[in-house]
């Protein structure tokens, strides 16, 4: 099944995607994309969708089950609040990638901008390049893997998300600390790298996580807020 956004509207394409039979594993190709927003949002099907071009904001937002490939860059909030499935951006991703996502896997072949994985709630994110500042801010659970570098205030106010960074970290945010890489973490990281198609060595990564000092408000911690 093919769509062309030069002749069809985003509304028409999304409606057609939503109307697909839920039990059918279709393959869909969308062409003629020129930064259109809200492409393939709210998917609830095990369908493979290939977007040929640069996507605008919220591409693949709230995805469930679908495998969505962006052959280009993705704008702000790609895969926001994803529940399951996979989103693969072959280019770069803008800010707030996979914001508040509960599950599934986001792979970014290039770089991701600021706040990658902000308030992540169970999603796994693999960025083959670097991520911008405040990534994983208030991250609750899931994993953020960065094969390049991380910007300022990584993991600020982190809860229980696992962060793995291969390159340098500009700075750690409040209550985010370096942690020991134990065997279960190497195992977790290896599986994610493999699933994302990366051949990086897991032992080259450093793990970061919550210091758990800000879990309950204490007046003596006010300088950290």
């Amino acid at each position: 099944m093919k769509f062309d956004l030069k002749t069809q509207t985003v509304r028409e394409v999304n409606q057609a995607l939503h109307d697909l039979p839920k039990d059918k594993q279709a393959e869909v190709e969308i062409n003629g994309i020129s930064g259109d927003h809200n492409l393939a949002v709210g998917m609830d099907h095990p369908v493979k969708i290939t977007l040929n071009g640069h996507a605008g904001y919220y591409c693949a937002g709230m995805n469930k089950e679908a495998e969505i490939i962006v052959n280009g860059n993705a704008g702000q909030g790609v895969a926001e609040n994803m529940m399951s499935g996979k989103v693969h951006v072959k280019g770069n991703a803008s800010q707030s990638a996979a914001a508040t996502a509960h599950g599934g896997l986001l792979v970014v072949d290039g770089d991701a901008a600021a706040r990658c994985g902000i308030s992540m709630k169970g999603v796994n994110i693999v960025v083959k390049g670097s991520v911008g500042h405040m990534s994983a801010f208030m991250g609750q659970s899931g994993c953020l893997v960065v094969c390049g570098d991380a910007g300022e205030a990584l993991g600020d106010s982190l809860y229980e998300a696992h962060l793995y960074v291969k390159g340098k970290v500009e700075s750690l945010g409040a209550d985010c600390i370096q942690k020991e890489m134990r065997s279960e973490h190497l195992e977790e990281l290896s599986a994610l790298l493999k699933e994302a198609g990366c051949d990086d060595n897991p032992e080259d990564f450093t793990r970061y996580g919550s210091g758990r000092q800000l879990y309950n408000f204490k007046v003596d911690n006010t300088s950290a807020y």
């Binding site: 509304r11 809200n38 469930k64 914001a99």
Partner: protein, 439 residues
């Protein structure tokens, strides 16, 4: 002020309340956190009066002549606007802040009265969906419990940008209320403080919001209305931007709005009174040619049918109640006075919702306490209250000669004092004077 004992003069600046707060702050090192809404006296609807009909206007007969109370919300873009029997709706209040029984009771009461209820931070519980015929799903900055399946089950979506009790502020649900279920719904460990963000994580301004709203519409196939809720501050500008961003319905929550828990200093010192916000919102809508096309819901300290009717007269399409709904369920009821006293409060004064010790079983996750609230009985009480609000508003509208609550107009009102006249944009009683040309 002179105290009971001759010769003892209480300072107006350092009153006993102020002294107590300084002492409390010195003891604890933390600001006061509490629930409920603003307690200070600010210009309110009580400062407005209706001009009942005499000669120049013709009243309608009570109990005989029809006075409509229905409202349709979301007529701008949604394929399925919400139709309610009364203009009084229930504001968003979260499972987590409230017990499951309280949420169920809100749904039951709203159903009986033919109105809607609203989720809150923490997401949509199956019980809530099951017990609420018309349910508005809040899309909040924290996105706790945000689920596209629930989004598709909603009758409307409310994008929350702010709350009257704390415009610009986030929230904190203290660890003592985080049970296994609340923790599971919010994807956070049990017993830790849960911070609700003050801003959405994936957009940063009105242009982004327009795209975000379009995303929500795309996900729901343009079926349901999209509300935008703002705390009343720069209301004129916020309403204009919300319309531009594509809202079907705008909710303006005044500073008397309630909360589950936030800093007292926020509750009492941020935002503008509900009465002052309505004319600003209406003016913004009128200037854009969108009054009555984008519906306006007003909330924040609505208590009586008079408040409801005055909101309608100032140009609102509907109102939402929060704190008053909890009081109708049984919050601060005298029958629990002894228990309120045990936890350092008293019936009529209890506001420590965040501690999870609510004797009435409403703002708690303690199963023993929560079981005290019978959702059927409490739902009935709420329905009674909603019916009274509607009947009272109808009575006032008829007296002004109006066959529908929406036919009330600013011309039906006068103000008792200069402040209210200026804020509401109606004449001072007995004069034609409306202070100021701008409001």
């Amino acid at each position: 002020m002179t105290m009971e004992k001759p010769g003892l003069i209480e300072s107006a600046t350092f009153s006993r309340d102020v002294i107590h707060e300084i002492q409390r702050a010195a003891d604890t090192g933390i600001y006061d956190i509490r629930g409920f809404g603003a307690k200070r006296k600010v210009p309110h609807f009580d400062d407005l009066l209706f001009l009942g009909a005499s000669m120049s206007r013709y009243p309608l007969e009570g109990y005989r002549e029809k006075c409509g109370t229905d409202v349709t919300l979301g007529t701008r873009f949604a394929k399925k606007p919400i139709k309610l029997d009364t203009v009084v709706t229930i504001a968003g209040m979260s499972f987590g802040a409230l017990s499951a029984n309280a949420k169920e009771a809100l749904g039951r009461g709203a159903n009986i009265a033919g109105t809607s209820t609203t989720t809150g931070d923490g997401g949509m519980t199956p019980e809530e969906r099951q017990n609420s015929k018309t349910l508005v799903y809040q899309y909040l900055p924290s996105r706790y419990g945000m689920n596209p399946d629930d989004l598709r089950k909603a009758d409307a979506i409310e994008v929350v940008l702010g709350q009257g009790a704390k415009p610009g502020g986030g929230g904190m649900l203290l660890g003592q209320k985080i049970t296994d279920r609340v923790a599971q719904m919010r994807t956070l460990p049990k017993g830790i403080d849960q911070r609700s963000a003050c801003r959405h994580p994936d957009w940063t301004g009105p242009d982004d919001l327009a795209i975000k709203i379009q995303e929500l519409r795309e996900i729901t196939d343009w079926q349901v209305p999209i509300y935008i809720k703002v705390g009343a501050t720069r209301t004129y500008y916020d309403v204009k931007l919300a319309v531009k961003a594509g809202a079907d319905v705008i909710v303006v929550d005044g500073m008397q709005g309630g909360t589950a828990a936030t800093q007292d200093v926020f509750i009492e010192h941020v935002g503008i009174p509900t009465m002052a916000a309505i004319p600003q919102a209406v003016r913004a809508l009128q200037e854009m040619g969108m009054h009555r096309k984008v519906q306006l819901i007003v909330s924040g300290g609505i208590r009586s049918g008079a408040d409801v009717a005055k909101c309608m007269a100032l140009g609102a399409d509907a109102v939402a109640i929060g704190t008053a709904a909890l009081v109708a369920l049984g919050c601060n009821h005298p029958k629990w006075d002894e228990e309120y006293q045990k936890i350092g409060s008293a019936a009529g004064f209890y506001d420590d919702y965040h501690e999870g010790k609510c004797p009435a079983g409403i703002s708690t996750q303690d199963q023993d306490l929560a079981s005290r609230l019978d959702p059927v009985d409490a739902g009935r009480r709420l329905a009674n209250y909603l019916n009274v609000l509607t009947l009272e508003a109808q009575t006032l509208a008829r007296a002004c000669g109006k066959s529908h609550l929406h036919n009330l107009e600013p011309e039906d009102l006068v103000a008792l004092n200069v402040e209210a006249a200026a804020m509401a944009g109606v004449p001072l009683a007995g004069t034609n004077w409306i202070p100021g040309k701008e409001f």
